[in-house]
Structures are given as structure tokens and as C-alpha cells.
Symmetry: C2
Subunit: 325 residues, 2 copies
């Protein structure tokens, strides 16, 4: 059983559908975790109560007590103001200007720090998988949407309005497919899970065949990234082609990042990458090197994160640790 | 006449066709300058001798002497290693691994510092036009090619291989027009002077009419950015349309930068912008705001630099000043 020292950190990944909380020691080992659904429809107060409950559940899971925790770091979707401790705008949660830090501190009685979810995932990956070594690391997270976290000159870079990393809305194809943001040809509209699903649905409408209709018993809209992997492994050429195209677009986005920011490491994560690494990574790496300016990509690593769901909660622990000095 | 103190800085802009040197006081006022053609074809030794001569000419122009100069900063095209003082690869000069710093120090007898030309222009614009205030500034320079310099967290950001800022090779249109780098659809292949010229030439070949054939007496390949402005002001619809399209692509590139880096200021410079600011800037600003994620562009300035040719030499002086502490 862990000692009774007051030395534990809690990281929280607050997503549109689920809340994940993990308890970490100072060396960033995850001692245990807990999960709750978000229930965003019940409004901010209910969600914040659920976050607090999830944190307490994770601590209890580790046979620890709240008083042994020195701080909590939370990754929230959308734009956050970490200094004011407020979530400014999170469409996934339908939140506008929610004082998350203050409310959680009231309920938990320990210091709470907040950051954008992709920033926090990049922090987690940088600290845990790279021992915080690369001075410049870009983490690109591909799921329902696409976002990035930037570690530049050894620390999190968030820019003027603290919204840096919105790589999902980098235009890769002027006049390309419509994106949720209202524009066309964004990276997210070409390579996110949503984009892949849309292309499969449209191909099926046009009469093309896919094993997915069988796997999902006709309910295509229930498709998950894992179903795509299953279909490809069972020889589904349509799904294979569409996933390969998404990997090519991702490679071009990685090349754009290398050309502009010349990071030492580009690390890819998120649900789509977790499920389809074997199918996508080699294509992404090859396309990125093909599209990077000769010489700029020398020695640059392009890899997939192995942290999966743990990236966000690990990053939350790192955020708390950094803020508590 | 300036005092005889040892306090002056010299900035040099070493380009593929010309060398410009400027003498600056500590407040970055330009006291005088000199210009020489580069004569890259004569090889690195001859070019370095010409740089040294241009520096001495500029100093003499200001009635100063070399011993009153504390340092020289040089912006060179292509990839440079400022620490080793070497130009690693500069296609415009046909240079590979040239020890520019050491050779110039030998000839000038004062400390010399080198940097990439776009980085140095961004430094100059940041220091002179913005008093070094914005923490995050991206300078995009549009001429024959397109490059950028990034000031992040108050200082020049150059990345792992020191090649950050290669925005000209950011893909904006997968499968778009061929770029000199070998890829397709790069920003530079869509909006540089070279790209604009190619599109006009191709339209003329297709039988479209432009006043440029008259202005240039049939020698279309002698087109300069100023000729484009003249043609537009004389009502040339073809040139107007092609320049507007280049401005739209530039606006999309600016939006990509805002989404990814969220800088406080995006400043546009280079020969094309200097000549066509009135025709392009409003379109760039509008397109950038249209394509930036809502909220990310709040309060961000998108402006044209007024420094023109002085950006590079000013940045050279800033570089020397910063390095001499």
C-alpha cells in the first residue's frame, strides 16, 4: 500500500463523453484510475460535481485519501484560460466561461490547474514517453476531431489567446470537403474519424461495398476506429483505401509542421491512431518526409504514442507538478 | 558627424543578387548604407570579400571607421548554423557549408553573427516597428520565394535543425501547382512572385490579354512586382484577378499560422508585399479572419511592414546587439 505522505498528483481528462482521473506518484507512475460518463447535458455544475467525484473515486481506488494529494491538473476541451482558471469556450461540453478551477478547488480542497486537453496530452507524452528531453515536440491527436499540443523550447507554448495548436483547422486543400468550423479543406475534414466515416458512408450510398455494413449490421453511424481496423484486417479494400488517404493527409500536415516549426519529435496519438497505428503510421512517416523541405526533417522522429488514454491524465499530473514547483 | 565612440552596429542582408549593408546606432537608427551586387557565380571567397567591402563602404558612407563598430550581423539565405557560424546550404548562392562568420571576422576584425535571412528580417521588424513588444510575432516575407521568421515567447525561434519558418513549403492545396521543391500545392507555388508570373504567362499563352505585354514590350519574363501594380492601376483585369487569388492563398496561409501558433502579430513583407500592399493586404486580412477558428484571431494584428529593404539590415544590427549582450 502507498505510504501516507502528502505527495500524490491527480490528472483528469475531461472529455465530451467521459471523465477519466488518474493518481500519480512524483515519478509519474499511474497508481490507479477511475472513469465516469460526463453527462454534459446536465450542465456545468453537475459535470464539475462528477469531475470531483471521479477524482475521489480514483484516490479511493488507490487506497489513498484526499489529504495525501498535493494538486490536481485537468485537461478540458476547447479554449481555456489557465491563469484565470476558466474554460472560456468548449463546444463539446456546451460551456462558456466556466470557473472550473475555483469550483473544483472548493469541492476538493486542493490546488487545481487547468489547460486545454491537447496541450495536456502533449505534456503527458513529453514527460512520460520522452523523459521531457526533446526541446521541441509537437503532439498531434486524431480522434473525432484533431488537435495538437506544442512543446517549444522545453515548455508548453500556447500563444497570444492561449489557443495555439488548432492544427485540425489548418487548410490542406483549398476548396476541399466542408469542415464543422464552416471552412473547407481543413485537416480535420480530411483525416479525423468523422471525416473517415463520412467518406465511407458516402461511398456506401454510391453503391460501393464494405464489410462494415455486415460487422455493424447496417448501423454504419455506430462505426468506431476499431471497426475500421477489423474491416481492413478482413480484407476490406474500400476502408483500406479511405484510411490510407487519411494517413496521406496526416503526413502532409506533419510535413507542414516540420517545415514551419522544425520540432525534434512529432508524436501522433488519439483514438484513430491508437486503433490504426499499424495501418497508418508508415504512410504518415513516408508522406511527411516526402513533403518536408529537404534537410529540414533530418533526425526528426515521427512516432506514435503508446500512452493511449493515459496521455491526458499523465499530462494533468505533470501540469499540477509544474505549477506546484 | 557621429561621435567617435565604439558603439555602432552593422547589419548585412546577403541575397542571391545583391548585398546590402547598413550602419546603425544603439537605438537602431540607420545612419547610412551601401549596396553591391552579389556575383554569386564567382564563388564563396569572392562573395565574402564583397560582403566585407560592402560593410566598409557603408561605414565610410557614415564618416565612421571600422574601429567604431562593435559587431556585424548578417542575414544569409538558406539554412545557417549561427552557433558554428556556417551557412550550411544556400541554393541561391550555390553555397554548401561555408564558414561565413570566421572568414568575415578575419577580414573585418570585429565579431560577426549570422542567421537565416527571414529570421533576421523578423527580428528587424519586431525590434523596429513593434519596439520588441509582442511576445509572439510571425513575419512572412513574399518575394521570388516565400519564407517566415518566428518570434515566440519574445525571442527568435529556429527549431531542432534551425530551419523553422519554411512556410513557403506549407501545402495549402494537395495536388496543386508544382513547386520548385518538388512537391505540389505549396504556398510558394501559389502566391510568390514566381507563381504569379507563371499564372500570367500561362494565361497569355491561352490567348488572354494583359497590358503587361505592352508595358514590357513583349518580354514577360522581365516582369517585376512593380509592373503588376502598374498594370492593375491601369485597369488590367487579368493581373488583378491573379494577384487577388495570390492574396487569398496568402490569407489562408496566415489563418493556418494563427490556428497553429496563435501569434499576437502577423506582419507581411518582401518585394511582392512592398509593391502590392494596397492591392493585397485587405484581401489577406479578410481571408485570414474568415479561415481562422472563431475566437483564435481575437485581437491579432495582421499588418504590412513599412521597412522594405531595411528589415534585413535592421535585423542584422539587432542580431549583433543581442549577441553582444
Amino acid at each position: 500500500m502507498p505510504e501516507s505522505n502528502k505527495e500524490y498528483l491527480v490528472g483528469v481528462d475531461l472529455g465530451g463523453t467521459k471523465i477519466l482521473a488518474g493518481v500519480f506518484d512524483q515519478k509519474l507512475n499511474c497508481l490507479g484510475s477511475a472513469k465516469l460518463s460526463t453527462k454534459a447535458g446536465r450542465g456545468p455544475d453537475a459535470v464539475i460535481e462528477r469531475v470531483a467525484r471521479c477524482v475521489k473515486d480514483a484516490i479511493d481506488e488507490c487506497d489513498l485519501q484526499m489529504k495525501q494529494v498535493i494538486g490536481v491538473g485537468v485537461g478540458a476541451p476547447g479554449a481555456s484560460d489557465p491563469v484565470a482558471g476558466r474554460v472560456i469556450f468548449a463546444p463539446n461540453l456546451d460551456w462558456r466561461d466556466v470557473p472550473l478551477k475555483k469550483e473544483l478547488e472548493k469541492q476538493l480542497g486542493v490546488p487545481v490547474f487547468i489547460e486545454n486537453d491537447c496541450n495536456i496530452q502533449a505534456l503527458g507524452v513529453h514527460a512520460k514517453e520522452f523523459k521531457g528531453k526533446p526541446q521541441h515536440l509537437v503532439g498531434i491527436f486524431i480522434g473525432t476531431g484533431i488537435g495538437a499540443g506544442l512543446i517549444l523550447d522545453g515548455k508548453l507554448y500556447s500563444g497570444f489567446n492561449r489557443t495555439a495548436g488548432e492544427i485540425g483547422h489548418m487548410v490542406l486543400e483549398v476548396g476541399g470537403p466542408k469542415c464543422n468550423c464552416g471552412n473547407r479543406g481543413c485537416f480535420e475534414a480530411l483525416a479525423s474519424r468523422t471525416a473517415i466515416f463520412k467518406r465511407i458512408q458516402s461511398a456506401v450510398k454510391d453503391g460501393q461495398k464494405t464489410i462494415l455494413t455486415e460487422i455493424l449490421e447496417g448501423h454504419l453511424k455506430d462505426m468506431r476506429s476499431g471497426d475500421l481496423r477489423k474491416a481492413i484486417r478482413r480484407g476490406d479494400k474500400l476502408v483500406e483505401k479511405i484510411v490510407e488517404e487519411a494517413a496521406e493527409y496526416t503526413g502532409i500536415a506533419v510535413a507542414n509542421v516540420i517545415n514551419l516549426l522544425n520540432p525534434e519529435v512529432v508524436v501522433l496519438g488519439g483514438g484513430v491512431m491508437d486503433a490504426l497505428e499499424d495501418e497508418m503510421l508508415a504512410i504518415i512517416v513516408e508522406t511527411a518526409h516526402d513533403n518536408a523541405m529537404p534537410g529540414t526533417d533530418k533526425g526528426i522522429e515521427i512516432v506514435a504514442s503508446k500512452l493511449g488514454d493515459e496521455a491526458g491524465i499523465t499530462g494533468g499530473a505533470v501540469l499540477a507538478k509544474q505549477n506546484l514547483g
